[in-house]
């Protein structure tokens, strides 16, 4: 049994960690948090040059042609570093959707640009508050023109192309829409995590190209979300580990009552519980990675498991990292809130925790042999 990443994949992880230590310091994350830019364009370019954006994209489409396991280890490092880049939107969703369902022409047109970072993609499902479901899709397509409002759309303010769920003759399909084209207006939205931008996109007869089979849109969107859920779970696992380390380091350093606060059991147990969450989340994320990389029929269960576990872990670690830091953890100057913001942003990014809990139970029922576990 080898339920682990290979040595080459671990080397890639180390390489990504070194690169991000150099190019994505907390100061760089803060520059996006506090500045006008909604992402770090230089870092994005650097990630493209390193081949990280195109890791899972075939060479025929301008990628590096490695695979999803490689993309997972890169994702973990991006999560640790809180990289302020549109990776989730452009690579985990748009590129994955194109690889799953794009026509040869669509793949040729967009994948090389996404891999090189020249274009940014996103996926637009939600239409306001509440869960995005097949029924909630009101945007329409008629005669190749798309109309409706999508909000929030992650990285919608900077994306060049969006994969949009809309209804044509009553059936939901996915469509490619160029956002610089006619009939598209966008409005940037404030959010709890400004290091990953959000926007509302309004379409009025915007030219739209069908992606995949007509009427197959929601199934396809779910499949894309499953891929993205595994990859985002690795970001969440990376973020969990880093938040835990920050808490640990502070507990070792900070003295109170004449001793390091990390010698108090109340603090030690808080950190031990964070470790437990992070460990379970990592193991579940590996399960997701295995299912994604092998094309297993277990992917729907594995992705939802990885997602629910990783969301719980990152939220737990990020909030308790603040707790360990005490009052300093609530200052703007300390980095704790960056992790807190990101953990809560990611918890909603692909649909809320309760949505994924529901999906997990549905899928376990479908599989109809109660888990795997025990």
């Amino acid at each position: 049994m080898n339920f682990d990443f290979s040595d080459d994949q671990k080397q890639l992880r180390d390489q990504a960690r070194r690169f991000l230590a150099d190019r994505c310091s907390p100061a760089a994350v803060r520059a996006v948090l506090e500045g006008e830019q909604s992402f770090d364009a230089e870092l994005w370019k650097g990630l493209a040059e390193m081949g990280f954006l195109g890791a899972a994209i075939p060479e025929a489409y301008g990628g590096v042609g490695l695979g999803h396991l490689e993309l997972c280890v890169i994702a973990e490092e991006l999560g640790r570093a809180l990289a302020p880049v549109p990776m989730t939107s452009s690579i985990y969703q748009a590129a994955e959707a194109l690889m799953l369902a794009g026509s040869e022409e669509q793949k040729q047109a967009w994948l090389p640009k996404l891999a090189s970072g020249e274009a940014i993609g996103t996926m637009a499902l939600a239409e306001g508050m509440g869960r995005a479901t097949e029924k909630s899709i009101k945007a329409t397509v008629s005669g190749g023109k798309l109309s409706g409002v999508k909000s929030p759309v992650a990285d919608g303010d900077i994306a060049d192309v969006a994969i949009v769920a809309a209804r044509e003759a009553g059936k939901v399909s996915l469509y490619l829409v160029e956002l610089s084209g006619p009939g598209v207006s966008r409005e940037t939205l404030d959010s709890i995590d400004p290091t990953r931008g959000q926007a509302a996109l309004t379409f009025k007869d915007a030219p739209a190209q069908l992606l995949g089979v007509a009427g197959d849109g929601w199934r396809l969107a779910s499949e894309v979300l499953d891929h993205a859920a595994v990859l985002v779970a690795f970001e969440q696992v990376g973020g969990s580990d880093r938040a835990l380390e920050m808490g640990r380091d502070y507990a070792l350093d900070r003295m109170a009552f004449g001793r390091p606060i990390g010698s108090f059991q109340a603090v030690k147990h808080l950190l031990a519980d964070m470790y437990v969450s992070a460990t379970l989340a990592r193991s579940n994320a590996y399960y997701g990675a295995w299912a994604l990389s092998t094309g297993s029929a277990e992917l729907p269960v594995a992705a939802a498991t990885a997602r629910v576990s990783a969301t719980q872990s990152f939220q737990h670690c990020a909030k308790n990292n603040i707790q360990v830091h005490g009052g300093m953890g609530f200052t703007w100057a300390f980095d704790c809130h960056l992790f807190y913001r990101r953990s809560n942003g990611l918890a909603l990014a692909l649909g809320s925790q309760s949505t994924w809990e529901d999906l997990l139970i549905d899928r376990l029922r479908q599989r109809n042999d109660a888990p795997a576990a025990a």
Binding site: N2, F3, G262, L280, S283, N284, W290, I361, A370, A373
Partner: protein, 418 residues
């Protein structure tokens, strides 16, 4: 990344599977499947006799104590082969419950510290199940604080070199069935507590040993109190040097950690199955949103434990040693099972109070889980001790400030001595 056996592992698995297929006591399979939560489910037969018979059969064919060297009755197998054997043995593994402490902890301690003649004499009958062993460590005054133990061994005054043991042990699993045990004692109360300890092996039939089963909160009796009154043992039964008992005990406890791969039950599959079939006023329980949310939370814990185990097995497969991070297994499983049992009873409404297996849902499994699960959170290291282990040995946080450090044992205040 895969779950596949290497070719050597696959070959070993095939041999193990064939042998088990041909030799396992299949007539007990159904009963064993109904076991768990403090008993192995056997009602139609004497559980000790069938356990000994299965162990003997395994030993005769070279399948006992896989991780032990052949000369002591083992197989000299690799850690990963031991895990594979456990997977293949499946429900029949429950038959070996009686021997877990002897094979996993006492045997390796004797192996590490006894002289060759003693090892040749004691270990093969332990491996083959002829003898049952117990581990006499915990005491009323020394549970989590094991080194606070007070059972005294003092040199006999007749110049024989023998030791006279007086005191009381508690929570000794299987003592009532045991032929031998390893016992940790205090031989010097005038030095710091970790320094005055000495380990012995002991014949449980020795005069002066009195074993009394403890009736547990759930009504069962798996543990015992063991009283020592002027029990005389020869110095040749000492394991390690006088005063080195703490070091010797660490051998025992380290071996406990190596027993991975079997995985602790959480009760999740049973709960999921229950919710799939439970009709409520509003339809099936599993359709209820609040039920689904709870189930999903338990599901990811059960799954997380399963795949954490897979990662540990993968490390073993590569020849690495599993570390203290495996402490999370019992910590997560114990608390999850307790919460989950309460939730399952809640779903049963007022009827959840009934524990008669003929009447209660799922054969009263959840009621049994409820009543057994507090023990899981205490035995073999409390939740709090496990969190300390994670905090100190995995995360590198400092140990607690010890007020008894460098204090002679006799001067440490205890609740028992005022």
């Amino acid at each position: 990344m895969n779950f596949d056996d290497t070719s050597e592992e696959a070959a070993f698995r095939a041999v193990a599977r064939d042998w088990i297929q041909a030799n396992a006591p299949k007539e007990l399979e159904a009963e064993l499947k109904g076991g768990g939560f403090g008993n192995n489910g056997l009602k139609s037969v004497d559980p000790i006799q069938v356990a000994k018979a299965w162990q003997k059969k395994k030993a005769d064919a070279g399948w006992a104590c896989l991780h032990w060297p052949k000369e002591y009755g083992g197989r000299g197998a690799t850690p990963i082969e031991r895990v594979i054997w456990g997977q293949e043995e499946g429900v029949y593994g429950a038959l070996s419950g009686l021997f877990i402490i002897g094979h996993g902890m006492c045997g390796p301690t004797v192996m590490a510290w006894a002289d060759e003649e003693t090892k040749q004499r004691l270990l093969p009958p332990l491996a083959s199940g002829e003898h049952i062993w117990c581990q006499l460590f915990s005491e009323p005054a020394g549970g989590s604080d094991l080194a606070g133990l007070r059972t005294a061994a003092i040199p006999a005054t007749d110049g024989s070199g023998d030791w006279i043991i007086n005191g009381q042990k508690i929570w000794t699993s299987g003592a009532q069935h045991s032929d031998y045990g390893i016992v940790i004692t205090r031989t010097d109360p005038n030095v710091a507590k970790h320094k005055g300890l000495t380990m012995f092996w002991i014949d449980m039939k020795s005069p002066g040993i009195d074993v009394r089963p403890i009736k547990q909160a759930n009504g069962q009796s798996g543990f015992n109190e063991v009283y020592f009154t002027d029990v005389r043992i020869p110095d040749s039964q000492r394991l390690g040097a006088v005063g080195d008992g703490w070091k010797v005990s660490l051998t025992t406890l380290m071996n406990e950690r190596l027993s991975i791969g079997s995985g602790m039950p959480t009760g999740f599959p049973e709960l999921f199955d229950f919710c799939m079939n439970l009709q409520t006023e509003d339809g099936l329980a599993i359709e209820d949103r609040s039920v689904r949310s709870r189930l999903a939370q338990y599901a990811v814990k059960a799954s997380g434990l399963k795949y954490t185990g897979m990662r540990a097995i993968s490390a073993l497969s590569k020849g690495e040693t599993p570390g203290p991070e495996n402490s999370i297994g019992k910590l997560v499983a114990g608390a999850t099972m307790q919460e989950l049992a309460m939730f399952a009873l809640d779903l049963q409404g007022q009827g959840g109070v009934v524990s008669d297996p003929e009447i209660a849902a799922a054969g009263a499994r959840f009621q049994q889980m409820l009543l057994r699960s507090p023990a899981t959170r205490v035995e073999g290291g409390t939740d709090e001790i496990l969190r300390n282990i994670i905090a100190e040995r995995v995360l590198g946080l400092p140990g607690d400030i010890r007020v008894d450090k460098d204090v002679a044992f006799k001067d440490i205040p205890t609740s028992g001595r005022g």
